[in-house]
């Protein structure tokens, strides 16, 4: 059985703002899935939806099966138990994701006290272990977030995510705010820790190269939908969907800040989720769009072995 | 020519947009309606009740009459119509409130932006002075100022204006520092934006919601302070104000004899005006800065 099984997940705000539209994804235990896309494509919404962390105004439909249990229909008590113990999150921008008025040691210990009913001395020992795991001296437990560098704070976030030995970690742009050297270190650290402890990883980034480097499989998101999904190297080296191709061409190297805003060779802006184009949502920006693309939105279908794409060009030739 | 007309159109559009969103705040609309009505009454007071309602010598009624058809709110100890005085008093209360608040917020915004932007020893000295004013009990300072200066409306305005600006200054300074720590300010500085450019183009628009809501709050406070000073006998003795009416009522023994009809209307008038300004201010605040979620 898959550890995470997302079925036909949709997230809507207000009456017609669709942030996520019918996403199907699976992650096996211990495997690593990357989700790529421009900002505003719905990938962060997807991450928050996994633990039902979206504001009350968001409406969710579909299923999110975590170890066979649907997160969306869980009772509050069960949901709280699953949060962090079953799946934890490494958020982007750790400065704001950590509470500025609490020591980092207390913040790492908090889930231990909540989920494991650990005694304070035991929690403190575990915090020391966790900090060592992520390459920080045990004494840093007494520091406040503002006393740490960006890279150190992200290490704290990772230590915190590991606290309750979850089977799944969601990393939402874990390296975005960091400079290139630190980015690479943090990525190595995440890679090493999840493979050591056999944790499944969902990593979200705008940077296809980073994901291809770290993950087993890759999904490309556009306007709330998965438009391409397959083995990481295949998606990166030989993307089937025109958007996937544009995205992989946009990131020749890890962490070039200029390319974050506008992928190279891709004119226009990502569509407004409140007013999506007809047919294939990518057709207004697509370099190889056909007439049919304005009216037809093809489903995700096999384009190569184990590699799916949602484009008439890739699926049309293979009936 | 075309740039100017374009600019005007953009301004008109943004005012219209502001109004469309302000309209959705019911409490703010009530406040605005009340203010419009009271302002109309205050402006039309000479027509509505005549200029001689304040005259003690040829008062129309006898002392301390209960409400009647002729005097809907009764009369004071000199036989003057209380309704007439109430209408006339709106002029002083509104004028003093508006002018004092304008003075106070103007000083506070200027000091706050300068101190927040320049930092260093300049900010240290300016904020030392501001903090000093802030720890002064402003009402006591206003009372003392009103005591040592000659009794007039301008004294009251000055006393309120120069004792109440530090709150605005501190809030504006904090906001200025917060705004300037955002990355785009760094970018603007890197692109060669000067001090004046940063302060007027980036800081001022960002502190404006604060300043606007602070002004309306300030008007409420100023009106209350004016009433307090008048009640303590420190107002302009030649004009009728709501606070002065309350002082008269107390001196006429309205409390011990239970003449609530003498006491209630001026206080309600003060509260309604102060509340109306507060509601407007909060609506403005939430229109300009929806994240605050105030109003509604």
């Amino acid at each position: 059985m898959n550890l995470l099984d997302i079925r036909n997940l949709s997230v809507t705000y207000g009456t017609d703002t669709a942030a996520v539209r019918g996403v199907d994804l699976t992650v096996e235990a211990g495997r690593k899935l990357g989700i790529a896309g421009e900002s505003g494509c719905g990938k962060s919404t997807l991450a928050l939806a996994l633990l039902r962390l979206l504001p009350a105004s968001a409406r969710l439909s579909g299923q999110i099966l975590l170890d066979g249990e649907d997160v969306l229909t869980m009772k509050w008590g069960r949901l709280r138990a699953v949060r962090w113990a079953g799946a934890s999150i490494v958020f982007q921008g750790a400065m704001h994701s950590l509470n500025a008025v609490h020591r980092i040691g207390d913040q790492i210990a908090e889930p231990l006290l909540v989920h494991r009913q650990a005694t304070p001395p035991a929690a403190r020992r575990r915090v020391g272990e966790l900090l060592e795991h992520v390459g920080l001296p045990t004494a840093r437990a007494d520091a406040y977030p503002h006393e740490l560098s960006g890279g150190q704070r992200q290490r704290v976030m990772i230590a915190m995510a590991l606290a309750c030995d979850p089977r799944l970690i969601v990393a939402d742009e874990p390296t975005t705010a960091l400079d290139v050297m630190i980015q690479a270190q943090i990525l190595r650290l995440i890679e090493q820790l999840v493979s050591e402890q056999n944790i499944a990883l969902v990593m979200i980034s705008h940077d296809l190269a980073v994901l291809a480097d770290t993950c087993d499989r890759l999904a490309v998101m556009y306007a709330g939908r998965i438009v391409e999904e397959g083995p990481a190297r295949a998606v990166y080296d030989a993307a089937q969907h025109p958007y996937g191709r544009a995205l992989s061409a946009a990131f020749p190297r890890i962490g070039d800040p200029a390319s974050r805003r506008a992928p190279r060779g891709l004119p226009g802006d990502p569509p407004d989720p409140a007013a999506l184009p007809s047919g294939c949502t990518f057709h207004p920006r697509c370099p190889v769009a056909l007439e049919v693309c304005a009216s037809e939105d093809p489903p995700l279908a096999e384009a190569a072995p184990g590699h799916r794409s949602a484009c008439v060009l890739t699926t049309g030739s293979r009936p | 020519m075309t740039t100017r007309s374009l600019l005007w159109r953009r301004r008109r559009d943004s005012v219209a947009r502001f109004w469309r969103r302000f309209r959705t705040h019911r409490a703010g609309l009530y406040g605005l309606g009340a203010l419009a009505l009271i302002a109309l009454v205050a402006l039309g007071a000479p027509l509505l009740v005549g200029g001689d309602v304040q005259s003690v010598t040829n008062a129309p009624g006898t002392a301390l009459e209960s409400p009647s058809a002729r005097f809907p709110l009764g009369t004071d100890q000199f036989g003057r119509s209380l309704l007439g005085l109430l209408v006339w008093g709106a002029r002083v209360s509104l004028a003093v409130g508006l002018l004092a608040a304008a003075l106070s917020v103007a000083i506070g915004t200027l000091v706050g932006i300068l101190a927040g932007h320049y930092g260093g020893w300049f900010s240290t000295i300016v904020m030392r002075i501001t903090d000093w004013f802030l720890v002064m009990p402003s009402l006591v300072l206003a009372i003392v100022l009103a005591t040592v200066m000659s009794r007039s409306m301008w004294t009251v305005i000055l006393a309120i204006g120069i004792t109440s600006w530090p709150t605005t200054a501190r809030l504006v300074r904090a906001q200025t520092i917060a705004v300037e720590s955002r990355p785009y300010i760094e970018r603007a500085t890197a692109l060669g934006g000067g001090h004046g450019h940063i302060m007027s183009r980036h800081v001022l628009p960002n502190v404006m919601p604060l300043v606007l809501s602070q002004t309306t709050l300030c008007i409420s406070t100023a009106i209350l302070t004016e009433a307090t000073l008048a009640f303590l006998g420190l107002g302009d003795p030649t004009v009728v104000s709501w606070g002065g009416m309350l002082q008269d009522a107390r001196e006429a023994g309205a409390v011990s004899s239970g003449h609530w009809w003498y006491l209630a209307p001026p206080g309600i008038a003060i509260a309604v005006v102060a509340l109306a300004f507060t509601l407007c201010g909060r609506a403005i605040e939430s229109v300009l800065n929806p994240r605050l979620g105030a109003g509604r």
């Binding site: 949060r83 406040y144 | 903090d131 002064m136 006591v140 609530w260 001026p266 206080g267 003060i270």
Partner: protein, 342 residues
């Protein structure tokens, strides 16, 4: 709140502050001393900008002979050069000598000492009640903002905030002390005690006298705390760290108590201390209306004469109280917020 005070207690064992805090403390103490000096300067010169002869102003309305005026002038040191008057004034003020009240023929310091306990009792109780009420209602309002409870909460608070305190006091006296229609007068119209009680009966008597003035102060005062707490909590509610706290599986009330409130409390705490500083000055009107035998009532008496040495002395006392409370707020703040004062 509990978390905030817990981290305040823990400051001693924190290594980083061991050297930084004393320096911060010294700076704040020095600042307070400078402020106090500025108050003395202000009070000295403010009361000398009065047009005309201060002694004549002091004796306004009281028939005084030229001889008496000369004696008074000597008594107040007005025959000395200005700078010498000023140094005398400061030297005396530092030893607690704030001059003589013309009206009561008694030292200002003595009068203040006499009236201070009554004021501390009345406004102290009121500030504690309205701060607690404001924090509680403000937190509730923000956490469920936009709802009916929030709108009702803020609406009532704003309305009461707009009411002049002295007017509300007078109205309460008419309704509950004088009695109106079917309502009998059930509370005393003023004062602090009936005069003939001892022991427990005395305590109950004073409490009985306190009900209306405290009610007035709380009604008019709690809105400010509520609105500040509500606004700063709303500000925090978009914070990413709250999403982290929720993701950790914390219950909603723990997210609020342990994470959101301590952060939101920081801006509120300064204001609460400023309100405490008003313990001295904040109740001038209410004390006047309820004839409460405290500093505020004394100030009103001094104003109506006007007894300028007493007004001047009370100004220094009121300002001194504010400086003291602000100093306390400044000293407490870094213990609550680790980012400040290091």
């Amino acid at each position: 709140m509990t978390t905030a005070s817990a981290s305040a207690g823990a400051v001693v064992e924190r290594s980083g502050t061991a050297t930084a805090y004393p320096r911060y403390l010294a700076g704040k103490l020095g600042g307070a001393a400078v402020s106090l000096f500025a108050v003395l300067v202000t009070s000295f010169f403010l009361f000398r900008i009065i047009p005309g002869d201060p002694v004549k102003a002091m004796t306004q309305g009281v028939p005084t002979s030229a001889e008496q005026l000369a004696t008074l002038r000597r008594q107040f040191g007005l025959d000395l050069p200005l700078w010498q008057q000023f140094t005398d004034y400061c030297a005396k003020a530092l030893t607690g000598d704030l001059g003589m009240s013309y009206q009561f023929r008694a030292p200002v310091g003595e009068l203040v000492a006499q009236k201070l306990p009554a004021t501390l009792l009345l406004t102290g109780v009121a500030v504690v009640i309205y701060s607690a009420l404001g924090l509680w209602l403000g937190t509730r309002s923000a956490w469920r903002h936009g709802g009916l409870g929030d709108r009702l909460n803020t609406g009532i608070a704003l309305t009461l905030w707009s009411v002049p305190s002295f007017w509300l006091g007078l109205l309460l006296i008419i309704v509950f002390s004088v009695g109106i229609g079917p309502v009998p007068g059930m509370f005393p119209t003023g004062g602090m005690e009936s005069g003939d009680e001892t022991g427990l009966a005395y305590v109950i008597d004073v409490a009985h006298h306190m009900v209306l003035p405290v009610l007035t102060l709380v009604a008019v005062g709690y809105a400010q705390t509520l609105l500040v707490m509500r606004a700063s909590l709303l500000d925090e509610m978009g914070g990413d760290y709250l999403t982290t706290a929720r993701a950790k599986g914390l219950r909603d009330d723990l997210v609020r108590r342990r994470h959101a409130v301590p952060n939101a409390l920081l801006p509120t705490i300064t204001m609460i201390f400023i309100n405490l500083g008003h313990v001295a000055a904040g109740s001038i009107l209410v004390e006047t209306v309820f004839s409460w035998p405290g500093l505020g009532g004394l100030f009103y008496q001094a104003l109506s004469v006007p007894d300028l040495p007493l007004v001047q002395g009370l100004f220094v006392v009121f300002a001194g109280a504010m400086i003291l409370m602000n100093l306390l707020a400044d000293l407490l703040y870094p213990l609550l917020d680790p980012r400040v004062g290091r």
